[in-house]
Symmetry: C2
Subunit: 579 residues, 2 copies
C-alpha cells in the first residue's frame, strides 16, 4: 500500500482490517445515532433558516465522505448548532430567508468552506486555527448559545421576531409579544421543560431502577425523538395546525438531490470571510472532539488530514442540498458510547438517514416547529457556560479581557464581529504581554554558582557590573523595551563598566532584536561600558554567528553566568583605577 | 521642584542649570542648523504638496514646543522626508493639491497626529510603536525613499507627472517625457550632481587640504544652501523664469500665522488612519535618533515623554500653518555635531527661521523648484538601503519575507498599505513561528544530571518515559500543537507510562495552554500514562497554583529533570511487570 495514498485515504488503513465484530458494533452505533440525528438535523436546518430536509441531506453525503477521508474513528459529521447559527447570520445579511436564493447561497457557503478547509489541509495550514484561543472559543460558544436560544423563543411562543444580535432579538420579541399563540406556547414550553427533565432528572431516575449507566446515557439522548413523536401525534390528533400551530408540513420524499452552488463572484466575495470563520470554528470544534475520543482508544488524529476530511464533507454538502457541517460534539459522543469502532458506523448512519429521507418524511408533516425549537434550546443551553469568566479572572486578566470582549461583542454585534474581535484582542494582548518582558537584575547567591533576582534574594553584586536576565524571547515587540531598560539603567550610574545579559530564557532573537542588541552594544560603547552575553542557547548562538553582531560585540559571550562574573569582575577590579 | 511636574516639563530640569557656556554652544549650533534648515524646510513643504512657507512655519513653533516638553537635548524637530511623503499621500487621496482645503487638511492631519501622540504619551502607550519591526521600518524607509526620489523627477525635468505609487509615477513620467524643459532639466541635473559630489567628493577633498573632520561635516551639510543661492542668482540673472523654469515665486513675509485646522468629522475620520501611521512612523524615527545621540552623552530619554513632546510639536504645527513634523535624523545629527548642549539650541533655531520667514523670503523668489527637488532627491537617496534584504536573508527568512513584502507593497500600492502590510505580516510570522515551537525529546547524558536532545546526543532513555523539553512559552498559538505532538508521540507506543514535560524554557502559560495541559493530562490518563512537569519557573508555578490543573495532574511536579527521571524511572521499573 502506498503510504502517501494511505495518508490521504485513511479508509485504506482501517478498511483492510475490518472484522465482523466491528461490523456489528458499527451497525448498533449507527442505529442509535440515526434515531438521535433525525430530530437534530431537522432542528439545525430550522436554525440555519433552511427547510427541514436540508438538515437530513447535510447529514448523509458529508458523513460518508468524512468516513473516507477523516482520521477520527468516532467523529459524526453533520449540522451543528454554532455553525448553523453562523450560516444563518452570514446568509441573512445577503439574501432573504425562505427564498430559493437563500438555499443556493447556503450551498455556496458550504462549498466555499469546503474548499477553504481542503486548501488548509493540503497546504498544512491548520495552525491558523491556533489563533483562536480557548478563552475566545469558550466565550464565543457561550454567547452563540444565548443568541441561538433567544432566536428560538419566537418559535416556542408562535410569534414573529427577528434580529442579528441579542438586543435586536429581545426588542423584537417584546414588540411582538401580544401576538402570542397560546397553544403553540404550551406545546413549546412543555417540550422544553420535558427535555430539560430528561437531561437532568431522567438519568438518576433510571439508575435508581437499576438501569446500567451506559444504557441511561443512550436513552437520555433519545429524549428528543420521544418529544417529536408525542407532539406530532398531539397536533395531528387535535387538529392543532388549524388553530395556528406552525408545523413542518410537506417534506419531499427523496434521497439527497444533486445540487450546484452559485459561483457568482459577487456572492462568493461576500461569503468569503463568513466561510473562513465557519471553517475555522467548525474545525476547532471538530478536532477537539476527535482528539478527546481518540485518546480513549490510543488512536491518532492527523489535524491536516482532518481538514481534508471536513473539507470533503462540506463540498459534499454543497453538492447534495446541504449547508455547512462539521464534527458535532454530542452526536460523536453518542456514536462513541454506542460502540462505533470505525468510520463505517458513519456510513451506516448515512444509510439510516437516507432511508428516513426517502420513507419517513410524511410522518413529520404534523411535527410542530415549536418542538424543534425546544430541542435546539435545550441542546444549546448546555453550551452556555459562564464559568470561563471566573476561571480566566482567577488565572489571567488578559485572558479574562479577551473572553469578556468576545461575549459582549458577539451578543451586541453578532457572531462574525464577535469572533474576529476575540481573535484580534488575544493577539494584541499576547504581543502586549511579551512587549514588556520580565527582566530581572540578578546577583550571585553567596557560596554558589547560582544567580537570582536582587530584589528577591540576598545576593552579591559588583557595582561595576549589571547583570540582567531576560525572561522572554527577544523579537520586534520587545526589542525597543530592552533598549530603553538598559539605556536607562546604565545612563544614570557612572560606576557601571560591564553589562551582562543572561540569555538562558531566550529561545529566539529576531532581526529587530539583533539590531537592538547592536544599538545597545554601540550605545554602551559610547558610554565606555562593555556588553557581554552569558548562557546563550545553541540555536540562538548559531543564528547570531550569521550576523556581524558578535564581531562588533565590545565584550564576550560566556557559557555560564558564573564564568562571566568571575572573568569580568576580576578584570574590572584590575582596570578600575580611579578616573 | 515637583518631580511629577518635572517629568512633564523637562525644561524645568535643564533650564535651572543653564550656563553661559551652554548658551554660546547652543547659539553656534542654532546658526548652523538654521542655515541648513531653510532649503530643507522649503523642499519638504514641496514634497508634502504645500506652499514653501509652510515648511518654514512647520520648523518654528514645533521646535520651540519640543524644547519645552521633549527629553532629548539634541533632537531637532521639523518636517522630514518620509513624514512629508506620507502627508502628501494621505491628503491627495482626499483633497486636491494646491487648494486652500489641502492646506487646511494638512493642519488637521498635524493636529490629529499631535493628539494621537499626546494620548499615547499620557497613557504610556508607546509600546504600540514596537509592532513596527526594524526590518519593516528599513524596508518602508527604503521604498519611501525611492518613491520620493521618483516623485521629484518631474520637477527636475520640468514636466507634469502624477501617481501615488512607483509604477503610476514612472508611467506618468514616461508619458510626459516629450514636454521636457531643457533649461529646467539642466539646472536640476547639475544641482543634483553637485549635491551628490558635495556628499561624496567634497569631504575627502577638504580633508586633503587639512580641514578638520568636524568642520568638513558641517560644510558638507551647507551644500544645499550654496546650490540654492547659486541657482537663484542664475535664474534671476538670465531671466530664466520667462523661459519656463518654474520658480518658488512670492512667499509671504510673515511670522507663522495663527491657523485653525478643520474639525469636520468626515475629514477627521478619513485622516485618522493616516494620522496614526504618521504618528507611529514619526515617533519611531525620532526616538531612535534621540537615543543614539543621548547615548553619546549618557543622557536619558523617556519614550513616553518623547510622545508628549512630539505631540505638542504637531499640535503647534497645526495651529501655526504647518504640517506633520517629527525629529529628523540629519538635522539632529548636525545640531549635535555643531555642539548643541540643550533644547535651547532648538529654540534659537526657531528664532533664526522666524527671522528668515520675516525677512529673507523675497530673496528666494527666483529659486527654481528644480533645485529644491534636487536637494530632496540627494537627501532621500541616502535613505535607500537594500542591504537589509541581504542581512535579513542571511539571518532569518521570516524577517526577509517581511522586508520584501513591505518594500514591494509600498512601491506598488503606496505608503499606507505598505506599512500596514509589513506590520500585519511580521505579527503573523511571529505567531506562526511560535505556533510550532521547538520541542526536543531529551535523554540523560551518561554520568551527569544533564538532559539533551536524543537526536543530537548519545543519551540514556527509559522506554517507559518520554521527556519533552519545550523551547517556548506556551500560549494559544502553540497550545494545540503541543496537544498533537504529545498525543501522536504517545498513541503509537504502548510501552510509555510517563510523559515528563521539562519546562525550563517556559516563561508563561496562558489560559489556552493551561486548558491544553488539562486536556493532555486527561487524555494521557485515558491511555494510562502519567503526566509530570519538571523545572517549572517560579512565576509560572505561582500561576498554575491558581487553577485546578495541579490538583488533577496524574503525575508530579519535580524541581529538576534529574529528580523526575530518578523517581519516575525507578517507580516504572517496579511497576513495569509484563502485561
Amino acid at each position: 500500500m502506498d503510504p502517501e495514498l494511505a495518508r490521504y485515504l485513511p479508509i485504506l488503513k482501517w478498511g483492510r482490517g475490518y472484522t465482523s465484530t466491528a461490523l456489528s458494533n458499527d451497525l448498533v452505533a449507527a442505529l442509535i445515532v440515526t434515531v438521535m440525528l433525525i430530530p437534530q438535523s431537522l432542528a439545525y436546518a430550522l436554525l440555519a433558516g433552511l427547510p427541514p430536509e436540508a438538515g437530513l441531506y447535510a447529514s448523509i453525503v458529508p458523513i460518508m465522505l468524512y468516513a473516507v477521508f477523516g482520521t477520527s474513528r468516532a467523529l459524526a459529521v453533520g449540522p451543528v448548532a454554532v455553525v448553523s447559527l453562523m450560516t444563518a447570520a452570514a446568509l441573512s445579511n445577503i439574501v432573504e430567508q425562505g427564498t430559493m436564493g437563500y438555499a443556493v447561497a447556503a450551498l455556496s457557503l458550504a462549498g466555499l468552506s469546503g474548499v477553504i478547509l481542503l486548501v488548509m489541509g493540503l497546504f498544512r495550514l491548520g495552525f491558523i486555527a491556533n489563533f483562536l484561543s480557548h478563552p475566545v472559543i469558550a466565550g464565543f460558544i457561550t454567547a452563540s448559545g444565548i443568541i441561538i436560544a433567544a432566536s428560538q423563543l419566537k418559535h416556542i411562543l408562535g410569534i414573529n421576531a427577528q434580529g442579528h444580535n441579542l438586543f435586536e432579538l429581545i426588542i423584537s420579541l417584546v414588540a411582538h409579544l401580544s401576538e402570542i399563540n397560546w397553544i403553540t406556547a404550551s406545546i413549546g414550553i412543555l417540550a422544553t421543560v420535558f427535555l430539560f427533565w430528561v437531561r437532568k432528572g431522567l438519568k438518576p431516575l433510571l439508575q435508581s431502577f437499576g438501569v446500567p449507566s451506559s444504557a441511561t446515557d443512550v436513552l437520555v439522548k433519545t429524549g428528543p425523538v420521544f418529544v417529536v413523536v408525542a407532539t406530532t401525534l398531539f397536533v395531528w390528533g387535535l387538529d392543532l395546525a388549524d388553530k395556528g400551530v406552525k408545523i413542518v408540513g410537506v417534506v419531499p420524499q427523496s434521497l439527497p438531490p444533486l445540487t450546484l452552488p452559485s459561483f457568482s463572484p459577487d456572492l462568493l466575495g461576500q461569503l468569503l470571510l463568513p466561510a473562513f470563520l465557519i471553517s475555522i470554528i467548525g474545525f476547532v470544534e471538530s478536532i477537539s472532539v476527535a482528539q478527546t475520543l481518540a485518546a480513549k482508544k490510543r488512536q491518532r488524529i492527523d489535524p491536516d488530514q482532518e481538514l481534508i476530511g471536513l473539507g470533503a464533507a462540506n463540498i459534499g454538502a454543497s453538492l447534495t442540498g446541504g449547508f455547512p457541517v462539521t464534527g458535532g460534539f454530542s452526536r460523536s459522543v453518542v456514536n462513541f458510547d454506542a460502540g462505533a469502532d470505525t468510520p463505517a458506523a458513519g456510513a451506516f448512519t448515512a444509510i439510516g438517514l437516507a432511508i428516513a429521507a426517502l420513507a419517513l418524511t410524511p410522518l413529520i408533516f404534523f411535527l410542530p416547529i415549536a418542538t424543534l425549537a425546544a430541542t435546539i434550546i435545550v441542546a444549546v443551553l448546555s453550551l452556555v457556560d459562564f464559568s470561563i469568566l471566573k476561571r480566566s479572572w482567577t488565572y489571567s486578566k488578559a485572558d479574562f479581557l479577551a473572553v469578556l470582549a468576545t461575549i459582549l461583542v458577539t451578543l451586541a454585534l453578532g457572531v462574525e464581529v464577535g469572533v474576529s474581535t476575540g481573535v484580534a484582542l488575544s493577539v494584541l494582548l499576547h504581543l502586549y504581554k511579551s512587549s514588556k518582558p520580565h527582566i530581572a537584575e540578578v546577583g550571585q547567591v553567596p557560596g554558589t554558582e547560582h544567580f537570582r533576582n536582587i530584589l528577591r534574594h540576598d545576593v552579591i553584586t559588583d557595582p561595576s557590573i549589571v547583570t540582567l536576565r531576560i525572561d522572554e524571547s527577544l523579537y520586534f515587540a520587545n526589542a525597543r523595551y530592552l533598549e530603553d531598560k538598559i539605556h536607562n539603567r546604565v545612563a544614570g550610574d557612572k560606576n557601571i563598566r560591564h553589562v551582562i545579559l543572561q540569555c538562558s530564557a531566550i529561545n529566539e532573537i529576531d532581526l529587530s532584536a539583533l539590531e537592538s542588541l547592536e544599538a545597545i552594544n554601540e550605545r554602551l560603547g559610547e558610554m565606555n561600558v562593555q556588553l557581554h552575553l552569558s548562557e546563550v542557547k545553541g540555536p540562538v548562538m548559531d543564528r547570531l554567528k550569521r550576523g556581524h553582531f558578535l564581531a562588533h560585540l565590545t565584550g564576550k559571550v560566556f557559557l555560564s553566568q558564573f564564568e562571566a562574573v568571575r572573568e569580568v569582575g576580576s578584570g574590572a577590579a584590575l582596570n578600575n583605577t580611579p578616573g
